[in-house]
């Protein structure tokens, strides 16, 4: 699997994503600068966590207007895989590659802690190595991860099995509607999620529950 990690000026999980991809694919991903207008030939694009352009105005708003995002959009429209983690998820909603929006956490505080997730959907390139209903523990670290969409959109996401991950009952860290932690687009080639799977690919750092996400992609895209 060939992959690229997009680097916005204030991305800060770009190295974490790079390290995880290298560890699991054995290959260095391409690091692509936000001002670039073309992507290298890759199977997977990762939009990493961080603060893209300082996350001033709204998280991900300015990033969605960057030149590299035009290329990412084109990649997604051609069916290429895109995963947005944390700030990457925010960028994907701002770019309208995913529906809804990510608002301030309900308690208005930044939150960094491991959360329990349930894997809701395994029919995707991102989740096939998990089992349906599996409980995993993955850290979150965000101030604006409160997923919002209108009722109709939420119903549709659920009806089309596009909710990939949910916060376990009682462990919703941000007030997200229907405990949604991660969603797929209609064509199921774009995933956005607030938790950080790339931070849990090493038992030393608190677990390996993020590994299967990358392994799913490797299996599908190699």
């Amino acid at each position: 699997m060939k992959s690229a990690v997009i680097v916005f000026p204030a991305s800060n999980c770009d190295r974490d994503a790079q390290t995880a991809l290298k560890q699991l694919t054995g290959k260095d991903p391409h690091m692509v600068w936000h001002q670039d207008s073309a992507l290298p030939d890759v199977d997977l694009v990762v939009l990493p966590g961080g603060f893209s352009y300082g996350d001033y105005l709204r998280c991900g708003a300015m990033a969605s207007q960057s030149s590299v995002m035009k290329a990412v959009k084109a990649h997604a429209e051609k069916g290429g895989a895109v995963v947005g983690i944390c700030n990457g998820f925010q960028v994907l909603t701002e770019t309208h590659l995913l529906p809804g929006a990510l608002m301030r956490n309900a308690d208005l505080k930044f939150v960094c802690r491991p959360v329990k997730l349930t894997v809701e959907e395994t029919q995707s390139a991102f989740t096939r190595k998990y089992s349906k209903g599996q409980q995993i523990t993955v850290p979150v670290a965000h101030g604006e991860g409160n997923y919002f969409a209108d009722e109709e959109t939420l119903n549709r996401l659920e009806g089309e099995n596009r909710v990939a991950f949910r916060y376990a009952e009682g462990d919703n860290p941000n007030g997200s509607a229907r405990n949604i932690a991660g969603i797929l687009n209609e064509k199921r080639n774009v995933l956005g999620l607030m938790p950080h799977p790339e931070r849990v690919v090493d038992p030393l750092l608190g677990g390996e529950d993020g590994k299967a996400l990358f392994q799913s992609l490797i299996e599908t895209l190699s």
Partner: protein, 80 residues
């Protein structure tokens, strides 16, 4: 010319900040406070003298960047 853009949450979108402010005001004894909503105000200077053009351009800015129309609405105010 100067412009002021208001970006506020659409009705029906939950506003955790507004709610927190409301609670805090009650806690401080401001019992008369009812619903509270918080939004953004963006003040811009524009090198443009034609009001219609300015308004069109501001609308474009709002749609493209200043507001996320999934959750937010905007109002534009021009001052000469």
């Amino acid at each position: 010319m100067k412009a002021r853009v208001f970006v506020t949450l659409k009705n029906g979108v939950l506003d955790p900040q507004g709610k927190a402010i409301g609670n805090a005001l009650h806690g401080l004894g401001f019992g008369a406070v009812g619903d509270v909503r918080q939004g953004k105000v963006i003040d811009l200077e524009l090198k443009e003298s034609d009001e219609a053009k300015a308004r069109a351009s501001l609308k474009d800015m709002c749609e493209k960047l200043l507001a996320n129309t999934v959750i937010e609405k905007y109002e534009i105010e021009l001052k000469a």
